[in-house]
Amino acid sequence: MPYLDHAATTPMLPESLDAYVRVARELGNASSLHGSGRSARRTVEESRERLSEALGAKPSELVFTGSGTEADNLAVKGMHWARRTEARNRVVTTAIEHHAIADAVAWLGDHERADVTELPVDEVGRVKVEALAELLAERAAEITAITCMWANNEVGTLQPLEEIAALAEAHGIPVHTDAVQAVGHVAVDFGASGVDSLALSGHKLGGPAGAGALLLRRDTKVTPLLHGGGQEREIRSGTLDVPGIAALAEAAVIAVSRQKDEATRLAALRDDLVERIRAAVPDAIYNGDPVDRLPGNAHFSFPGCEGDALLMLLDAAGVECATGSACSAGIAQPSHVLLAMGAGEFDARSSLRFTLGWSTTQADVDALLAALPESVERARSAGLS
């Protein structure tokens, strides 16, 4: 089955699945004091060491969570709560964040009376750093936290995080990054990045869903979302999911070790895919930064087609891809990312995202190209309703 939706979820690496099953057979609560507990704790701590090392972080900087969304919420809400005062009540985000950030920030605005500033992006979907510089010049004292994703989940554009982190540091404002799409796919070094916290998710890099992590500098304060047993430095209470943690670490270590070679391989496949789509559908619009993007991401608008209709036709032909980020009610909305990049509503509804991953082969790309032209033609005749 040609699966070109690795940004939604990617298959578990066999090593990760093995680790999961092996550890899941073992008894033990990592907080228990007896032998079984110590054994579970040892697995957690070894995983913590391996995972943090792979990402340029210290073990003590790693907080395991139940998902990337949870890590994002913990960072953004937690930093805001920890730093807000009467005079300092503003969160800075970008126009292209995943819902895990966008909706968390919107919630702070709607329910916690936070002021929110959304940084604009250019036409390839890269955050305008100068907008942040201007904002900081005027309002730095009002800002509790800045959040900017590492790489965009829809169009794949890599973000100027180092510049953002440098600007923020000058004002002592913490920066969070949603690196869910980046870890294992591009080089990520937490220590060198200059950010204060970083969210990642297991199932985007060959690990299990339901396992995520937040890398968090020791000197960055966050107010916890969950209160309970005080696990994870009292930042994230809840019995540790030992098999999930072991499998996440296993997957991340492998993905990071293979990242460079895999990026080269995927970028070559992706470039082939892009070139052939452009040849087959000459008016297709290749969205995002043509060069500075995730290696496995290709994102197109097909003018005159409804993305929904295209997806259904490709699905019927056995090719799986996405229109962008899914919506709970199953109703496609025009992509907020494309709208922020200046696309019209029609182009924003006519997009498809093809994302490649570790199990992708040339045959998958060939299968897509075999099905796509007819699907585009049909979808075009159905038009935009």
Binding site: L313, A316, S328, A329, G330, S381, S385
Partner: protein, 390 residues
Amino acid sequence: MVEGVKLRVLAAMSGGVDSAVAAARAVEAGHDVTGVHLALSKNPQTYRTGARGCCTIEDSRDARRAADVIGIPFYVWDMAERFHEDVVEDFYAEYAAGRTPNPCLRCNEKIKFAAVLDRAMALGFDAVATGHYARKGDDGLLRRAVDPAKDQSYVLAVLNPAQLAHSMFPLGDTPKDLVRVEAEERGLAVARKPDSHDICFIADGDTSGFLKNKLGSKEGEIVDAASGEVLGSHDGAHQFTVGQRHGLGLKRPAADGKPRYVLSITPVDNRVEVGPREALRVDRIHTGAPVWLGPERTEPFEAEVQLRAHGEVYPATVVPSPKGLRAELHQGAFGVAAGQALVVYDPDAAEHNDASAGVGDRGDAVLCSGTIDATGLNDAAVSSGSAAGV
């Protein structure tokens, strides 16, 4: 559509039991079926107690679960904008004009068998299947369902032959209670879901409040049609339907003690006229341009007409013209509201007289339909049932 041919069928799945069983039957008939739930509301409510409709997230989920059980692909199509323009806005406009629209009929005409069917055809489907209770005869005519209580041929009578040719109604030959049994047997969780009765886009079933919200309140008079005497007041003529008896709020009973009914609604001066039931009697019905489901006729013919959903059937002489139908009822009808459809049926002689006739040609056949514009009495001046006039 010939039996035994494998078609690509799009099953419209509302999340109710009927459309779920219809989809399952289409699969069993050997077709390649894809389930689609139509999202008709821009802001689907997360939960709705009591009322049932086709606009909630629960309905979408129920439809998805049914598709899982049946084993077909499932998608949600966003038709909210079209639905709002073509059905909801029309609903307001019709009431504002003193008429009584049927939104289900409008939805079939503009959404399910137009926007959805067109899109389906363009995407490579051959037909749209729905859970409507109606039959298609071997002759291609739309016929009543075997279950007279559930028959929905009335709200489908706006389909033209081309739309009809690409429609499937797999439930037309089955009584509703057996459809529920079948759903249960098929393991469909919606088997016991209550029927939807209300208008799907009016969440709480309060049509009057819904209209008041949009069209506003404006005090007007309720007048005795014969004497001109002012009997009471109301807060908006759009709250009324011709033939309505309850909710008039009149303090004094009529002189003869008999109930009074709404006879006419005049939005221009916000006036509602009432009178005795006898004054509601009409035997001439005029419609706008007809839709012919069967072969178009030009000469007057004898038929049966139905004047509202699940309403009575009247023998009539139908006088067709391209501009409209005129039905001359053999006996009077009461409470006929403009805006409703006049549906002309060819009574099923076979069903009544010849039990051995082929199943495929059973049931009253729909010949044509038109939207009622005006009503009147034989030889009397045509009295507009509404402000729409003739």
